[in-house]
């Protein structure tokens, strides 16, 4: 029962990582790529590490894994916001429809 729940959470997290990487490779602009990776990586790491903590059982190691989950849940949106602010200060223009044929 514990193994089934943990495996399901890990598979969902890996699927979110894969979709984030697909967005990083295929989307046309810097802002679009940041939009894909910022959200998919946060939820993917959260689901995968929660599944591994459930599999490991109730111990100090699981407490450390839950601490990593909380830190990642705070850190990745902050880093994404900082990179986006740096791009906006340096006047990187967003992608529009008239850039489609370039």
């Amino acid at each position: 029962m514990v193994e089934v729940l943990s495996g399901l959470l890990v598979v969902c997290g890996i699927f979110l990582f894969a979709s984030g990487t697909l967005g990083l490779l295929r989307l046309p602009d810097f802002y679009c790529r940041m939009h894909a990776t910022g959200k998919c990586d946060t939820l993917g790491a959260l689901l995968t590490l929660t599944g591994l903590a459930i599999y490991n059982g109730f111990s100090l190691v699981s407490l450390k894994i839950i601490f990593i989950v909380i830190f990642i849940f705070l850190a990745i949106p902050t880093a994404t916001h900082a990179i986006g602010r740096a791009a906006l200060v340096n006047r990187v223009l967003p992608w529009t429809k008239k850039d489609k044929n370039k």
């Binding site: 990083l24 810097f30 190691v61 450390k64 791009a87």
Partner: protein, 88 residues
């Protein structure tokens, strides 16, 4: 269950190799920073998976925690530098 962890970490390694394309050759500094941030997040997960695979997770969880801190601080420092200098 150990084979399951091995296969999941192999899939994550393939995703790291694919996203290294954006980390090395992406146009401009900002795309490279985003690519390296994504790779660091995947490595944090892959360290816990490897620790559960070779059954030494009490050692690998500390390395993973330190890697998460370093990844966050490095990305934040690069973003602040680019915001102040305007070096694009």
């Amino acid at each position: 269950m150990k084979d399951f962890f091995l296969w999941m970490s192999l899939i994550l390694g393939f995703l790291i190799l694919v996203s290294l394309y954006r980390g090395v050759g992406g146009p401009g500094f900002l795309n490279r920073i985003v690519g390296i941030n994504v790779i660091g997040t995947k490595i944090v997960v892959i360290l816990i998976l490897m620790g559960l695979f070779i059954q030494r997770v009490d050692m690998f969880v500390d390395i993973s925690l330190a890697y998460a801190f370093l990844n966050f601080i490095g990305t934040l420092a690069a973003a602040k530098y680019l915001e102040r200098k305007g070096a694009i």
